[in-house]
Amino acid sequence: MKILNNAGHKIFLVILFFMTLSGFSQMPIFKRYYIADIPGLGWLAQFYVTHMIHYIFAGLLIGFAAYMVLDSVFNKTGFKKISRTGYIKIWIIAGLMITGLVLVVKNLSGIYMGHSMIIFLDISHLFLCVLFLMVSLYSLIFKKPWQAD
């Protein structure tokens, strides 16, 4: 049995795609490098829009993760089938979710964090995202699927 059917896998990819895109657009780079000038991509330079998108997909990702965890408990076999790169990616996503959620808390009114805390969170969040992209690229090139057979 597969841990995730095709539709589920596609949803997961879409969530991660938009999280990465809206994540990188938190930094003022898309306007500088003309990407926001591409017709249809102007929103990438609108910080409040990309902020909302990142938040919406974060909610979806959290829901998805909760689903996967409980589903694999019911399946019993679930977690045992995950490949090594799969495990690495899961831990990276968990790290992204934890650092991301603390950043969300930081953004609430009345929460005061110092520079070192915010910088630590931002850098580890960004580092984990880049790491995720690299591991994903590796597993794409060397054909390492999520599920070990």
Binding site: Q26, P28, I29, M52, G110
Partner: protein, 326 residues
């Protein structure tokens, strides 16, 4: 020139604090009182600006420039080339440090003139303008790199050693307060050609003076006692009493979800807004919605997300087990 202002500032301190402000009761302006008020109240400090009192003498502007002079940028020239040149503006104020009619990296406070009608007369009002020190400041919260921070006393500030000059704080600020100087700061040590563009500057509400229990310089030197500073509840009470007294209007209490700067004006703010020059470095007086509110709402929605996921998985399992029984 510098020492002249210092002396004036010094003289004023003793005069002002001993005089009218203290006489009017709860106002927190004397240094020792500020110190006493701060630890006692967990509340952030708020400034109250009485627009009707300001005579536009710019003593505050001079004082701000003086006490913060050591924090002003000292850019290295020529600036490293930044790519792509068409989307990265070079913003250089180092030859225009004497500009005082707008916000610049060297001028964090300016006096905005408004031509308005008051009781049938054409009058000119003077309005000190600077960072509002928002309750939930988008500049601080949305900096992707943590170069800004908000302190528990309510002020927000940019660390010039950390800022990379991408100007996101200015873009997300409803008043576009922070101002950029190219050719200074951390970005020079990283990849100056491809990332960053200097350092952003704005009023930091004299954090270094507040730490010592002193009031901000602009408050201290003002000959007309235009501004006062104190705990939020107290200042809000005062602001509403003042507004009632002059039949006036309040700005900053609800703008952007609330700020730590409250303006009281004898004319409505939409009229004031029409009577001022707005534009680059010259903030407006429009209504501003709470910029962080949508994010806060979505953050709350995130609490529901895991339950929705668990519910979906449980539902799937339940349906499957019923199928099995059949």
């Amino acid at each position: 020139m510098t020492s002249g202002i210092s002396r004036r500032a010094f003289l004023k301190t003793s005069a002002v604090t001993a005089g009218s402000l203290v006489a009017s009761g709860t106002l927190i302006s004397k240094n020792s009182e500020l110190k006493a008020a701060q630890p006692a109240s967990e509340e952030p400090l708020v400034t109250l600006i009485d627009i009707s009192k300001c005579i536009g003498c710019e003593a505050c502007v001079e004082a701000c420039r003086e006490v913060n002079a050591d924090q002003f940028p000292d850019p290295e020239k020529p600036f490293p080339k930044m790519y792509p040149t068409s989307t990265v503006p070079v913003e250089d104020w180092s030859d225009k440090t004497d500009v005082t009619d707008r916000l610049t990296p060297y001028n964090w406070l300016f006096i905005q003139q408004a031509q308005v009608m008051l009781d049938g007369d054409n009058v000119e009002l003077n309005i000190p303008r600077r960072c509002m020190h928002c309750e939930n400041p988008p500049c601080v919260k949305l900096c992707p790199w943590g170069a800004l921070k908000q302190e528990t006393n309510g002020l927000s500030r940019i660390d010039p050693d950390l800022c990379l000059g991408g100007a996101k704080c200015k873009t997300v600020c409803p008043w576009e307060i922070p101002q950029r100087q190219t050719g200074v700061g951390l970005y020079l040590d990283i990849l100056p050609a491809f990332a960053g563009n200097g350092v952003m500057y704005k009023c930091n509400r004299c954090y270094q003076r507040l730490e010592k229990g002193q009031v901000p310089a602009c408050i201290e030197v003002c000959p007309e006692n235009v501004q006062i500073i104190g705990p939020r509840t107290q200042i809000l009470e005062q602001a509403h009493a003042l507004a009632k007294e002059m039949n006036g209007y309040i700005y900053g209490e609800t703008e952007n979800g609330g700020t730590h700067t409250i303006y009281v004006s004898p004319v409505p703010f939409d009229q004031l807004n029409q009577g001022i020059d707005t534009g680059k470095g010259k903030p407006h007086f429009q209504k501003v919605k709470n910029m962080m509110a949508d994010g806060t709402l979505l953050a709350k929605a995130m609490i529901i997300a895991p339950f929705a996921g668990l519910f979906a998985a449980f539902g799937k399992y339940y349906l499957a087990s019923r199928e099995d029984k059949k």
